[in-house]
Symmetry: C2
């Protein structure tokens, strides 16, 4: 079983990496690009048999290690 975790800064939290990309795209001549935000994408191979159990475990991993829940939101997708 595979889990995909998407971690993004919460709305309103300053995102200097996103801003840097935004400016770089402007310098490269791409117009009409509004807000750019950069987050993390983490994929995990799990040996869990059931999807609900896997989701619960990955949620715990997010709370304890993967995400900084003060400033980041996360989203879990279980595939296969």
């Amino acid at each position: 079983m595979k889990a995909i975790v998407k971690i993004m800064l919460k709305p309103g939290v300053l995102d200097p990496q996103g801003k840097a990309i935004e400016h770089a795209l402007g310098s490269l001549g791409f117009s009409g690009v509004g807000e750019v935000r950069q987050g993390k994408l983490i994929t995990l191979q799990l040996d869990d048999a059931d999807a609900e159990g896997a989701r619960t475990r990955v949620r715990e991993m997010c709370e304890k290690l993967l995400a900084n829940t003060v400033i980041e939101d996360y989203e879990i997708e279980i595939v296969e």
Copy 2:
């Protein structure tokens, strides 16, 4: 219109960040976690009117700036 770009290291390319997460999860007592890989998730607000045009433009942004296509694969999703 909003574009979501997922950028992951190509299979086979060493991913030290992913390995660090894998070990940290093990230390925290999470068992049965196989390979972990970390990538980037970039969201862009675009003022394009049509989805196909937006996709073409974002593909160009990926080739020129967002992804290092020697070692990274990217996937584009256009939403809204």
